[in-house]
C-alpha cells in the first residue's frame, strides 16, 4: 500500500465526531460516527480512527493526509471555558474592550443581556507608550510599565495575555518589544499580539479579536499537541492539517499561533462540500441550505467558491441576533443562521399570529411525535401530518413516530385560532418556509444579488424536505440534493486547498498613493503567506495569489471589500483599482455617489496552494436492485391532498426521472418533490429537481399554500 493512498477527515461537532476515510485510488469513501468526548476530545477522535481503520482494514501507515475541523474553540467561547486571560493596552485605554460600541442590539428590551468582555477590568492593565496614526513613536515604550503589568497579571493567575496598543496596525514594534520583555521574565505566559492576530484599524474590534485568541490559545495548544502525539502513537506519519474558517487549510503551528482563525472550520467544510456537489451538476452559483433540528444555515457559493467575509461574531447572547456577540475580524465563510428547524415550536403570539421558532424542542424532548414527552407542536409534527414523513422509517427506522401525539398538539394549536388541523399543519410548514426565505432574501439582496440566479443545494435532515418550497418562495428553479448528506461536511475537508489570508491597514487616499510603498506592503504580505503555505504543503505547491482591498468613498464609514487585479502595482494601477472598486460598489448598491475621493483602508492578500494529489472524485453509491417504488401515501400540498408515490433513493438508477408529487426516502432524510416539479437522478449521484418557472415566478400554482 502506498503511503499516500488514503486521506482522513475529522470533523468534531457538538454531538458526533465524523470521520471519513477516502481512498484516492478507488474514489471510495467510508464514514464513521463516534460520540464526541468533550472532556477529552482527542480521545473520541483516536477511538473513532482506530475503529474505522480496523473496519476498513487499512493500515495507519497508508494514511497520507489528515485534515481536521472542530467546534471546540467556538464552544469554549460560547460556554466561557477559556483560559484566565489578561490584556495590556496603551495607557488610558484599558476599558476599550468593555465600552465597546456603546450600542444595544435591540431597542425595546430594557433588560437586554449584553455580552460581557472576556477579560474583567482587574486583568486589563496599561503600559506607557504611544504611537501616532502613521505609526511614528510619540512616547517610547516604557519597559517598567510593561513588566509591572505582566507581573500583576501573572500574580492574578493569568495564563494567556493579549497585547493591544493603539495604532499597532501601523507599527508593531511596541507590541513586539513588550512581548519580548514579558517573554524574558515570564516565559510560561502565552502572548497574543494585536499586530499579528488582527492588524486592522478600529481598536475595539482588534482588541476583541486578539483577546478571543488569547482566551482559546492555551486550549488549542494543549489539544493540538495531544492530538498530534496520539496520531503519531497510532503510527499515522502524515502531518495534521487544520481547517480554517475561510475554507482553507493550515499547519498545526499556525493553528496554535492564531486559533481564532479556526472558529468556523466545521461550517466552512460544509460550504466547500456544497460547492463541490453543486459543481458536479454544473452549478457554480449556489445557495447552500442545511436544515437541522434547531437551526437552518445558508451559505452563498459564487463561481464555485463559498463567499468569504472578514467579520464574525462569537458567543452571541441571542444566537440569531446580529450584534449580540463579540465582534471578531477574522476571515470566514459567510453563513447565516436562522432559528428554524425540525424541532422549532409553533405557537400563536400575543397578536394571534402563527409563529414558528426560534424556540425549539431540540432533540430532547424533541417534537411531540418523538413520543418523549414533547408537548408542543413542531415543524416535524406538521410534516408528519402532511404525509411527508413515514412514521415507520423515520431516521433510518431508529425511531417510530407517534402520529397521535402530533395530531393532539397540532390540533390544540388549530383550536386556538379557529383553524382546521390540516390548515394548521400546512400553516406551520408554510410559515417556517417563509421565515427562512425572508432571511435568505434579505441576505442575498445585501450582497447585491438576485436569488433567482442561484441553484439551491439542500443538506441536513430537513433540507431535502423543505428545499423545493423554499426555492419556490425565492424564485429559484433548480434544487440539488446530493447523496448521503450526512458525511458531506467531513468530505469537504478533503477538498480544501491550503490557504493564508493576510490583512494590513494603510488608510490612504488612492490618489497620490505611494505606489512603491503599496507594492512593497503587498509583497511582504504575500511573502509571509507563501512561507506558511510552504510549511504546510512543501515548497513545490502550486500557488494562487489574490489581492484585495477595503475601499470607500471619502466620508463613508464602511468599506467595500474589493477583489483587485494581480500586481505588481505602479502609478498606472490607479485607474484599474478605481474601476474595480466602482464595479464592486455598484454591484452591492446599484448606484454610485458623486464623490471623487477614494480611500484605501485595508489591503488584503489571499494565497492558496493545492497539494499534488489531484482532485477528489468520490464514487457514486451503487444502486440496489429492486422496485424503487415502495408505496404511496396521501400527502398535502397547499390545500390539496394528493396520492403521492414513495420511492427508495438507493434503488433509483441514474437517468431516471420522477415527476412530482413524490417522496424520495433515504436513510437520514426525505426528499419532497412537489406537484409540477420533475426530479432527475444524475450520474453524479445528485438528484436535481426542476421547478417549473411558472410556479416560481408567479407563485400561483396549485400547491400555493395561501
Amino acid at each position: 500500500m502506498s503511503a499516500d493512498r488514503h486521506a482522513l477527515a475529522i470533523d468534531i461537532g457538538g454531538t458526533f465526531t465524523d470521520i471519513v476515510l477516502y481512498d484516492s485510488r478507488t474514489g471510495r469513501f467510508a464514514a464513521h460516527k463516534e460520540l464526541t468526548t468533550p472532556a477529552d476530545p482527542a480521545w473520541g477522535v483516536i477511538t473513532g480512527i482506530r475503529r474505522l481503520l480496523s473496519r476498513e482494514s487499512v493500515e495507519a501507515a497508508a494514511v497520507g493526509r489528515v485534515v481536521h475541523a472542530t467546534t471546540l474553540f467556538t464552544n469554549a467561547l460560547i460556554e466561557r471555558r477559556g483560559a484566565r486571560t489578561g490584556l495590556i493596552t496603551t495607557e488610558g485605554f484599558r476599558d476599550t474592550l468593555e465600552i465597546g460600541h456603546e450600542r444595544k442590539y435591540e431597542l425595546y428590551d430594557l433588560h437586554l443581556p449584553l455580552p460581557q468582555p472576556l477579560v474583567r477590568r482587574a486583568r486589563r492593565l496599561e503600559a506607557r507608550e504611544r504611537l501616532a496614526p502613521d505609526g511614528s513613536v510619540e512616547v517610547a515604550l516604557e519597559p517598567d510599565s510593561v513588566l509591572q503589568a505582566a507581573d500583576a497579571l501573572v500574580s492574578q493567575g493569568v495564563e494567556s495575555a493579549a497585547i493591544c496598543f493603539l495604532h499597532a496596525y501601523a507599527n508593531p514594534s511596541h507590541e513586539q518589544e513588550a512581548a519580548s520583555l514579558i517573554a524574558a521574565r515570564h516565559p510560561q505566559l502565552m502572548l497574543s499580539l494585536s499586530s499579528e492576530v488582527a492588524p486592522q484599524i478600529r481598536e475595539f474590534e482588534r482588541s476583541s479579536t486578539t483577546v478571543a485568541n488569547a482566551y482559546i490559545k492555551p486550549l488549542a495548544e494543549r489539544y493540538l499537541n495531544r492530538l498530534s502525539e496520539d496520531l503519531t502513537a497510532l503510527r499515522i506519519k502524515s502531518p495534521l492539517f487544520m481547517m480554517l474558517s475561510n475554507g482553507g487549510l493550515t499547519h498545526v503551528d499556525e493553528a496554535k499561533r492564531v486559533p481564532v482563525q479556526l472558529l468556523e472550520s466545521g461550517p466552512a467544510a460544509g460550504a466547500l462540500s456544497a460547492a463541490f456537489f453543486g459543481a458536479r451538476s454544473g452549478e457554480r452559483d449556489l445557495l447552500a441550505f442545511d436544515l437541522g433540528g434547531t437551526t437552518a444555515k445558508l451559505a452563498l457559493v459564487q463561481d464555485g467558491e463559498p463567499h468569504v467575509v472578514h467579520r464574525f461574531e462569537a458567543g452571541r447572547e441571542r444566537r440569531f441576533t446580529t450584534g449580540s456577540g463579540l465582534p471578531l475580524t477574522i476571515s470566514t465563510v459567510e453563513l447565516i443562521e436562522i432559528g428554524a428547524g425540525g424541532g422549532s415550536i409553533a405557537a400563536h403570539d400575543a397578536l394571534g399570529l402563527l409563529k414558528v421558532g426560534p424556540r425549539s424542542a431540540g432533540s430532547m424532548p424533541g417534537p411531540a411525535c418523538y413520543g418523549r414527552g414533547g408537548a408542543h407542536p413542531t415543524v416535524t409534527d406538521a410534516n408528519l401530518l402532511l404525509g411527508y414523513l413515514d412514521p415507520e422509517t423515520f431516521a433510518g427506522g431508529t425511531m417510530r413516530l407517534d402520529t397521535g401525539a402530533a395530531e393532539a398538539t397540532v390540533g390544540a394549536l388549530a383550536g386556538e385560532a379557529g383553524l382546521s388541523a390540516a390548515r394548521a399543519a400546512e400553516g406551520i410548514h408554510a410559515v417556517v418556509n417563509e421565515t427562512m426565505s425572508a432571511a435568505a432574501r434579505v441576505h442575498v439582496a445585501e450582497q447585491g444579488h438576485d436569488a433567482r440566479d442561484f441553484a439551491l443545494l439542500v443538506t441536513g435532515g430537513g433540507g431535502p424536505l423543505h428545499g423545493c418550497e423554499l426555492a419556490r418562495r425565492l424564485g429559484i428553479s433548480r434544487v440539488i440534493c446530493p447523496p448521503g448528506a450526512g458525511v458531506a461536511s467531513a468530505l469537504g475537508l478533503l477538498l480544501a486547498p491550503a490557504r493564508v489570508d493576510r490583512v494590513a491597514t494603510i488608510s490612504r487616499p488612492l490618489a497620490g498613493m505611494d505606489w512603491a510603498a503599496l507594492e512593497a506592503s503587498f509583497s511582504a504580505m504575500e511573502q509571509d503567506a507563501r512561507t506558511v503555505i510552504a510549511a504546510t504543503l512543501g515548497a513545490t505547491a502550486a500557488l494562487s495569489i489574490r489581492r484585495g482591498a477595503d475601499l470607500r468613498f471619502a466620508g463613508q464609514g464602511y468599506e467595500v471589500v474589493t477583489d483587485l487585479p494581480a500586481g505588481p502595482y505602479g502609478p498606472d494601477s490607479e485607474d484599474m483599482i478605481r474601476a474595480a472598486f466602482e464595479r464592486a460598489y455598484e454591484l452591492v448598491f446599484s448606484r454610485r455617489p458623486g464623490v471623487a475621493t477614494i480611500e484605501m483602508i485595508n489591503i488584503r492578500v489571499s494565497v492558496t496552494g493545492s497539494a499534488a494529489e489531484g482532485a477528489l472524485d468520490p464514487e457514486v453509491p451503487e444502486t440496489s436492485l429492486g422496485e424503487p417504488r415502495t408505496g404511496a401515501r396521501n400527502a398535502r400540498f397547499g390545500s390539496e391532498e394528493m396520492d403521492t408515490p414513495v420511492l427508495d433513493r438507493s434503488r433509483l438508477p441514474a437517468g431516471v426521472e420522477v415527476p412530482g408529487p413524490a417522496v424520495i426516502e433515504e436513510a437520514m432524510s426525505t426528499l419532497l418533490v412537489p406537484p409540477g416539479a420533475r426530479a432527475v437522478v444524475e450520474a453524479s449521484g445528485n438528484i436535481v429537481i426542476h421547478l417549473p418557472l411558472a410556479v416560481t415566478r408567479q407563485g400561483q400554482h396549485q400547491h400555493e399554500v395561501v
Binding site: 488610558g92 468593555e98 425595546y108 430594557l110 477590568r121 493603539l166 439582496a445 466620508g555
Partner: protein, 542 residues
Amino acid sequence: MHDAPRAFDSVHLELIWTRLVSIVDEAAAALVRTSFSTIVRESHDFACVLTDARGHSLVQATDGVPSFLCTVPRTIGHFLREFPPETLEEGDVLITNDIWLGTGHLPDITVAKPIFLDGRLAGFAGSVAHAPDIGGRIRTAESREVFEEGLQIPVMKVVRRGVMDDTFLRFFRKNTRMPDQTLGDLQAQFTALDLMERRLRGVLAEHRLASLEELADEIHGRSERATRAAIRAVPDGTYHAEVLTDGLERPIRLKLALRKQGDSIHADYAGTDSQVPRGINVCLAYTLAYTAFAVKAALCPEVPNNEGAFRPITVSAPQGCILNSTPPAAGANRALTGHFIPPMILQALASALPDRVIAGTGSPLWSLNFAGTRPDGTPIANQFFMNGGYGASAGRDGPNVLSWPSNVSAAPVEMIEQGYPFRIRHRRLRRGTGGEGRHRGGTGQEWAFESRSTTPVAVTFMAERTKSEAAAPGLAGGRPGTPGAVLIDGVPVDPKRQHILQPGSVVELRTPGGGGHGDPGERAQERITRDREDGLLGEAQA
C-alpha cells in the same frame, strides 16, 4: 382565545406580514449601506415605513431609533392634506423637513412615494433619514430661531413622474456645506422607496390583494388589542414624575401626569416650562415618539411598530411649552430635552411596575462638535458622540456606558486620530459615577481630546446632567448617578456655549453615571469586592 378574523387567518396574515417586514428590512439595509451620513450609518438614525393609502403605517423597520416612531405616517398625513390622492401620480416623491410636520429638527428629511396598483393609490413607501448637512449653524444649541438652523424644505413634490425638480436641486445644493454627500443620501432614500414599491407590488400580486386597507385594519386591530391588553395590567391611576434638566442659565422643569385608565394611557405634560430661545425645544411629534417608545419598552416590547400599536397611547402638552414648541422655536438639539422623556415615564411607572423599569440613565446623548481648518486652509468639521451609564434595575447593576434612549455609537479612537486633528489622551470608564444602590448604576466615561490643530478650533457640545439637580435619579432607595462635566485645560466650562480651543489645549468630556436601584446598605459584599478589585469604586468608597 383570539378573534377569528373574516378575511385573514393566523397563517395567511403571518405569511404576508413576514413578507412586509422583510421589505422594510431590505430597504433599511440598502439605506444604511449607501448612506454618507455618519449618524444614519453608525446610529441607524432613519426609518423605512410602508403605509396604506390613508397613510396609516403597516410596518416600520425595527432597527431605527425611537425618534421616528409614528412620525413618518404623520408626515404622510400632512403630505395628503397638501396633495390629495387625485393630485398624485406614479413616480412622484414628496418631501419635507418642516420640523413641526416632521420630526422636530431640520436635518431629518422625510420623503414618501405613492404606490399605485392598476391606477389606484394603494399605499406609500416612506423614509426619513438624518442628512449629513442641512446648512445653517453647525449643530449647536445656540440658535434662537429655526431660521438659523438651516434650510427649511416645505411640503413639495421633489420628483414628478420620475423627474427630479431642478429648482429644488439648485436651491438644495446651494444651501448645504456638503452637497454631494447630502444629495447622495437623498438618492439613497429614493433607492429605498423604489425598492419598497417594487417589492410591495410583488406581494400584492402574489397574494392577490387589490388594496392594503383590509390588511392594514387587521394588522392594526391585532396590534392595538395586544397593546391594550398590556396596558390593562397596570393598575388604574395617575402617576406623576417631574425632572429638572441643566437647562440654560437656570434648570428647566419637565412635568408629567401619566393617566392610566382601563386600556389606554395618556401622558399629560402640563406644568412643563415654556420653550426657550435656544435650539433645545421639542416639537410634539418628538414628545409623542419618545413617550410611545418608553411605554412600549416598559409594557409591550414585543408588539410590532405600526399605527395600531400606538393608538392606545396619547399625549398632550400645552402649546408653547418646551415639549410642544411653536414657530419659530429652534430645535436642532431637541435631544437635550427630549431624551429626558423616557426616564421620566419609567420613573412615573416605577410604583406600578417596580420590577420592569430602570433607574435614571446618564443620557441624553453627549457629543463634541468641532469646526476648524486644515493646514491647507480648507474647512474641517465633525461631531463625535459618546454615552453615559445605564440605570440599575431590580435585577442587575446598570451596564457601564450604554446608549439609551437613543442608540448611537462612539467613533473608534483610531479613526478619529486618522482623520482629525486630535489626540485622544484617554477614553476610560469614569470610576465611582454609577449611583450607589443594592444594584449600582452604570458608570459614565471620560474622554480627553488634545487639539493638534495648528490653528484654533471652535467646539460646541451636546452635554446634559452636568448639574447636581439634573443627576440621573435612583430608584427604590438607590442614589443618583454622578453628574457629568466638560472641562477645557482642567477648568469647567459652560457646555451650552461655543468655546475656542487653542492648539495644544485639552478638552475633557465626563459623561454622567446612571442611577442606582435599592438600598446601598443591601449591596452584596461580593459585588463591592469585585468593584473594588476592578478599580470601579470612587475614591471615597474605595
